[in-house]
């Protein structure tokens, strides 16, 4: 029943990886048997602090199975995001479910994967108002606000921009905090995971299910 924390992220994740929305949006779509890799930089601006908290690393969208968020700096840790679980892995430590298993977000994940497959805007439309849309050549940008009263408490506004893929996302929270995410070096390929990527997915799916 408590899902404030990761709702924010789940929604952000939708935007980051899946904004195949609307008239404008990523022109390339990750198919279930494809993998999208790239680098991210996250700048977290907390209100009251001058310098933002900056982290960066790599992300991997594994078809319709899940997303790996691999922070490399200033510390190394992985986050495995799947339909059923959100698992955090710190080096040398057992994986920890950061969201209680019973509160799994099948629905949100459904939106993510649906959009990844190129599902149209109406799924997104259920949760967000589209405030503005801009298109210039292959580039596009739009601004969203959450529809539900509940989500409004978690986030004020989201803006997403990109061309072939999503490149920039900004999430503004009601307390004045702001997360800015930028994505670069996108590589879309057929599904083949490195051993450690597969190992991370195995935490959730078990080794038998590895591709």
């Amino acid at each position: 029943m408590r899902r404030a924390g990761y709702h924010v992220f789940a929604v952000a994740a939708v935007c980051i990886f899946a904004s195949a929305l609307l008239a404008a949006g990523p022109s390339l779509v990750v198919e279930p048997d494809q993998v999208l890799r790239g680098r991210f930089e996250q700048q977290r601006q907390l209100s009251g602090f001058e310098t933002p908290l900056v982290s960066n690393g790599r992300f991997v969208v594994v078809g319709d199975r899940g997303v790996l968020w691999r922070t490399e700096d200033p510390l190394q840790f992985d986050l495995v995001i799947t339909p059923s679980r959100f698992v955090q892995v710190l080096p040398g430590e057992p994986p920890v479910d950061v969201v209680p298993a019973e509160a799994a977000t099948i629905d949100i994940f459904g939106i993510i994967t649906g959009l990844l497959r190129g599902a149209p805007a109406d799924e997104m439309d259920a949760a967000f108002h589209i405030v503005s849309t801009e298109v210039a050549g292959t580039s596009w940008a739009y601004a969203l606000t959450p529809k539900s009263e509940y989500l409004t408490k978690q986030m004020e506004a989201i803006s997403v921009a990109g061309s072939d893929f999503v490149e920039n996302v900004e999430v503004r929270k009601p307390n004045g905090d702001r997360d800015t995410l930028s994505f670069t070096d996108h590589v879309l390929s057929d599904r083949s995971l490195t051993d450690d990527e597969a190992a991370l997915l195995d935490i959730v799916y078990g080794s038998a299910a590895a591709p």
């Binding site: 408590r2 602090f49 310098t51 908290l53 510390l75 710190l90 977000t105």
Partner: protein, 785 residues
Amino acid sequence: MRLASALFWLVLVGGSLVHVADRFRDGVALSSDLMALLPEEDGQSVRAAVSQASADSLSRDIMFLFGHEDAAVAESTAAAFARALADSDLISETGDQSRRAAEQELSALLFRHRSGLLSDTDRLVLRSGQVSALYQRALAQIFSPIGSVDSRLLLADPFQLFFNYVATLGALRDSLVSSAGGTVSGSNGKTYAVVSAKLAGEPYALSFQRRFMAWFDSWEAAHTATLSGDGSAIEILRAGAIFYAYEGARQGLNEATVIGGFALVGVIVLVLLAFGSLQPIGLTLLSILSGLIVALSVNLLVFDSLHFIAVLFGAGLIGISVDYSLHYCCERFGAVAKPRERLDNILPAATLGLVTSSIGFLTLAWAPFPGLRQIALFAAIGLAAAYLTVVIWFPVLDRSPDRKANAWLMRVATEPRALWHDGTRRLYRYVALAVLAVAAIVGGSALNVSDDLRRFQALSADLVSQEQAIREITGLEPGLQFYVVTGSSDEEVLATEELLRERLAALRERGGVTKVLAISQFVPSEARQAENAALVQQHLGTAARERLRADTGLPIDIDDAPENGPALTLDEFRAHAPRALVDLLIPNLGVDQHVSIVLLRGVSDVDKAQAAAADIPGVEYVDPAADISALFRTYRKVALILLGVSVLVMVPVLVWRYRPHGAFRILLPPVASVVIAPCVVALTGEPITFFNVMALVLVFAIGIDYAFFCRESHPSRLNINALANGLAAASTILSFGLLAFSGIPVVHSFGLTVFVGILIAFLLAPLAERTNGKDEGLGGSARNT
């Protein structure tokens, strides 16, 4: 003389009536608290008080989920419902607004005392010295895309120790006091908004049930009508004892109407057929009613309060007196004109029946169980009074002439006599015996018992599936088991809880239980708070802070560790915590002891949960459902044993009057029916419960009556006697046996046992008839012929 005794009896019954009416006007509450049935020395403990308080509290919880594809619709409907509910006088919980204020106050209080507060996980990590893991975790939290850090909180609590403590508590609190206004996503694409509340009234009180359901139904009717306008209706799921109770009461009432109607019509048709008049019904009712009134009056004099189970079974057992009434009435078929002679003909058997039944009931009163004692006294007094009514009033009231018995009824009723005594029916006899033997052997091997409370009620399938859906959507687990922790001070209680929770943590690791909820998770003992503060100082002091500042670039004040103030006390917490939480974990029981409750969720290994606390002084394991099952198990066993004992006690009386051979023949029919009936019930796949055993007590008492009437009857009147037995059996089956058609499992099973038992007793009763007088006992010489 006869008139004088009739008047005297009238004064007694009338006096009882006045007494009972008077007590009921003062509001004699029939107790429905099952724990009141426990032996008295058990009934007064803290454990019982806690069980009761917890059951009361749980039974008042209600929860609604409003589901819709559009989350906004779900939320706004839930909000409107919550407002309407709060505006009604049906719930006791305060609204959202004051709760939020209270929550902030509580957070502020906890924050002030944060130096001594640690989540269990963090505490274990610090104790094991794996500080770097904790450090990395804190850092990951700051940089995680899922992280919900807040600048103000980060400075005050850079390692998120307080944050983790509050987060754990929040989850705990939610599983205790489900918050109104949250939303959950269902797997069907709908969003569900939750509203939960505590009822202001007693969910088992019919008047409150009706008021609540009327309110709910009218709200639902008004709102689903307007909502279905956009094509998709809102889905409303509900859970709570009141819904089950309301459905149960409705089902009970419907059944009572239908089954009761059939029984009444059946008895009237039967009596009209047999007597051509309704007067025997009037007489029978008079006898039963006077029995009920006198029994109630005496029980109210002896016991402070009556239990509804005692009244239910006691009243049922008074129904035995139908035998006396109908035998009396059947005497008019025997060419006996004088009422006095009619009475004389049935008096020996009726008296023996009364004596043996009373022996049986009074044996039940041996055991120190208040429930059985009340049943025993109620039945014994009631039966005696009904008997006296037959003996004293019937001859005075009886004006009916002789008449001829209905030939068809006579033929049916004498069929069992023919079966046992007519040489030409030998084949049928063997077939009947073989059928009974096979039923006994096959059924006997299938016999199984159950004391599971769930068997005792019929839960509406629709409500069960709604509750199941709510559980799946919210992830709330049902939890009924708990520990009661007592001590001489709050500190002692908290320290004991901490010891207990360590054991439970180990049990949880092994999957024996999924969640533990205790007040010491919110408020550690003073000793533990000091220990926590020392652990933090030791492992996360200046050096760790300096490192965090370097790693994050945040202006963390290196010396800003929270000072060690006075420890958080239970009293402070109690004053600021949500009422519902306090009521659940540290209820005010009015006992002169410090008491807390440790709740368990998802217990899969009951034995280990019980064992975990076995050697900790001041901790007691409580499983209310198991307690009630154990109570019914005890009652079932005790009642069965006492039924056996009462048979043994009767033997000397029977041997004195009939010699061993005669005693054997008298006992054969009732004992056989009591043994075979449960076997036949077992053939239907149903387990035997306490209620079946009480049915057997009834069957035995009635069965031995039939045997007495057969035995004591003059050879020339055996057919009339058989008719009377047949009428008595038919009316008993109509009034109790029809309960076999009830949808309430326990009532159904009671009815089925009576049905089968009475049928067998009636069929076998002619076996008790005298055969050429060779087994005359001493008492037999006084036989009235």
